[in-house]
Subunit: 509 residues, 2 copies
């Protein structure tokens, strides 16, 4: 549909603004930056881009300080009072509290700086989680609250499954720029291959709340549960830097994910009838530019891997247009992609939402053009750590973390292995171990849940080390575990050196 | 409360039948055996006992035929045409279809009769599952359907967690004698230590159905979700033949389970408010006699590990009474245990249900007295196999299967180890391997669920063999895997010899 998008843009340019008054939801974001700062695209929200850029700089700086600090400390490790000095330095430079006792070195037992590096990476990640970035970015939701807005567009909850690939590590904050309040679930899997039954359970938990407590809205309200799948590809090196789980083949990646989304839709209809009302949306991300392809559903809700509206193309086609014309061009491109007239009432909500994502992403496309000369210098992987277990979204940035959700390594082994293979490839040349964080969330309202979460985190960490024992034995892995009562609350580190039995069966002589 | 029960029985004997007309639910079962067959206790339902006895005989005979058949075949294995003969014999005697090619022996490669034994045990178990016993036993639910009856008693779903111990392998059919239709969930764990969050999910799935489809009844109906925990103890050898997971200490077993039930109750109140309406019930089973202790909740729903109504005591106290007097004695014992008057309206439903279980169990107490001289000859473990994964209830019998529910060995390792330790102890002296069945159920309405289930079954089997590799290497374990679309449907065996990758990480040189 690239042709259609361009055609629509031209048509918009030719015919001027539509006469049909835009709905308030659409207006909300169009009214956002009434006076855009200096820049090129009339729809790119530079205030948001600048805030995201500052946040990215802060995150990069935090991790970037680790190696120079350790490099500076290394040669002094045999000096008197080194441990206290090192602890003070790490506190001052990295804001990490590492007990001096752990920093004592002697010529027979020098500091394990590789392990310390991984420890600092994991510690920095945890510190940034608790740093409480303003992820809501108020300008993302001005006009009216975004959650009210998405309900107006016909959705009451959004469940996003991106690929575990670290280049999608900023997918909701940077690429899609959707506020956390509208994302009910975000779970990542290699190749975005989510479990259909698990998504059904997500729907069920939301639905029960709607029935029982009327939140986020009443069960009778004619809104839908939206499941979004996000695959990715590389425009620079499509055969090499695409999705590893799908052999770096974007047709395969999109096709497999679309099939999974269709399975979810089918399962929901069979299990809960036509009234269950779910919507699905397939999105592709070019990890070189952060541009997106939105596979706008047609009037029957069907999507096609070859039919999409592309933010990069729309950016170029509309950058020169007056603001209102640019908006119309996007609307027309989305309608053309859906194969419906621009005033089709049935598909209106989904089309507005697709337009909202494309417009948001135009800001990111411009940010990458401005700050990375249009394409990221690192087309491939430079993730700093792997996160397994429950999702962490508090700190987001492209190539920050390979993140794969799993309850156990037994089930998540394939995803874990992909992550370790990827990180090992770019850590090993620097003789650095791969840092892995096992992160388990629990509901503090359930008695005993904290203990269960700790056991699970401990088990997960042990299983990672057991599966990759050879790599761990030569210092190629560094695993930490944390539990957390809920999003936004403090992390509790788990002491993995403490013995908790259960490691060996030992049940028969 | 043993004293109270006796006292109540005596009081009932002294004062005759109550004048208050019993509710219809209670009548339903009291009317059941209007003309009891020859026997001792007026409330023991001998029709049911005899049907259960026949079923037990059939199950025992099926497993009992395995060893003699193999013993007979063993010396002939080098005779000409043996394979075809053996296949025909196994088909005729055990109703198992084993291809002749798998039964070819030579003097350099004799039959692995140990493995064949395990194979036959697993095959027989699967055959019996598909044999479709009439588990509903129509006389269990005559008068009116039991599910309507439990709703009248104030419950809309029952979730039972017994211990994984094989001596509770007949808990719902034999010991509690509740029809399958009223058991929404039955999951076993070592020491009955269920996961509270998982029980909350059970409640949620039932609740959503009530809201959306009005099944089993409408969400507005003032009925409750009943969670039952079943621990066990041994009256013959309390220190040795009790629950292994709780150090054969019945106070610990009951206390830990009561705490878990209270945690569930607390979690539900916090998560879903007082309106969530769950009830909990603690039951103890004497595995030597199948008699039960019912820890009847008091007016506030609270239970006490020392306060219970005992079926064995009630049996003796009421065996000589006229039928109506015996019923009153049980009612009084239950009311005394709850600490409420016999006409207390608030606790009526739960008390009727406790009375129903005690009355049912009196039939089992008598059956054990009749057919096992009051106590089982095998106080300890003689389980024939271990079942892991999803629950199997189609074929039940004391000491048939150690059954522990788990998604992965990573999470269920402790339960698996207990099971293997127990079965190894009584299989090893006979030089027989421990048969383990990995059983995964799936919802056929979810596209792709069959494939996911097969992967899970395969993973589970592989993880069992990996964890107990040394035992497996010397032929001490035999693992099979099956998947099943739903209860009552056919089992699909999984060929574990086929390679499916994923076993080794192999991700770094």
């Amino acid at each position: 549909m690239r042709g259609a998008a361009l055609h629509a843009a031209r048509r918009a340019a030719a015919t001027g603004p539509r006469h049909r008054p835009p709905p308030r939801g659409w207006d909300a974001w169009s009214a956002r930056t009434s006076e855009p700062a200096a820049g090129r695209h009339p729809l790119a929200d530079r205030t948001v881009s600048q805030a995201l850029h500052r946040r990215a700089d802060e995150i990069e700086a935090a991790f970037g300080a680790i190696a120079p600090t350790l490099q500076e400390l290394a040669p002094r490790q045999f000096a008197p009072e080194f441990a206290a000095h090192a602890a003070a330095t790490l506190h001052a430079r990295l804001q990490l509290d590492i007990p001096a006792a752990a920093l004592v070195a002697s010529w027979t037992a020098p500091l394990d700086l590789r392990a310390l590096h991984a420890h600092c990476v994991l510690g920095t990640f945890c510190r940034l989680i608790e740093r409480a970035f303003d992820r809501g970015l108020s300008h993302l939701v001005d006009g009216e609250p975004a959650d009210a807005l998405i309900r107006r567009w016909g959705f009451h909850a959004i469940d996003i499954t991106p690929c575990a690939d670290g280049r999608l590590s900023g997918v909701t904050d940077y690429i899609l720029r959707v506020p956390p309040s509208i994302v009910a679930f975000r779970e990542s899997y290699a190749g975005a291959m989510f479990d259909v039954a698990q998504s059904v359970r997500h729907w069920e938990s939301v639905e029960l709340q709607r029935w029982r407590t009327g939140t986020p809205n009443a069960a009778e309200a004619p809104t839908r549960f939206l499941k979004i799948g996000v695959y990715h590809f590389s425009s620079i090196a499509p055969r090499h830097e695409g999705c590893a789980a799908h052999g770096s083949d974007d047709v395969r990646a999109a096709g497999a994910l679309l099939e999974r989304l269709n399975q979810f839709d089918q399962a929901m209809r069979t299990l809960h009838g036509a009234r269950c009302a779910v919507a699905t949306l397939l999105i592709g991300v070019d990890t070189d530019t952060d541009a997106i392809r939105v596979h706008v559903p047609d009037a029957t809700g069907r999507m096609d891997i070859l039919r999409h509206a592309d933010s990069a193309i729309l950016y170029d086609a509309t950058a020169h247009l007056p603001r209102e014309h640019a908006k119309d061009a996007i609307r027309d491109a989305v309608a053309a992609c859906a194969g419906v007239p621009a005033d089709d009432a049935e598909t209106e909500g989904m089309r507005w939402f697709c337009g909202y994502l494309l417009k948001n992403n135009i800001g990111q496309v411009e940010a990458v053009r401005d700050w990375h000369r249009g394409r990221y210098a690192d087309a491939g992987h430079t993730e700093r750590l792997i996160v397994v277990g429950d999702p962490v979204d508090d700190v987001q940035l492209r190539n920050l973390a390979f993140q794969a959700q799993m309850r156990t390594v037994e089930e998540g082994a394939a995803d874990l292995d992909v992550g370790i293979r990827i990180l090992h490839a770019h850590h090993a040349p620097h003789r650095l171990p791969v840092p892995i964080l096992a992160h388990i969330r629990f509901d503090p309202r359930i008695p005993g849940a904290a203990v269960t979460a700790e056991q699970q985190a401990r088990r997960l960490a042990a299983a990672i080390l057991a599966r990759h024992a050879a790599l761990a034995a030569r210092g190629g892995l560094s695993v930490a575990a944390v539990v957390r009562a809920a999003d936004g609350s403090a992390l509790t580190p788990i002491d993995l050196t403490a013995s908790h039995g259960d490691a060996s069966p030992e049940v028969h002589p």
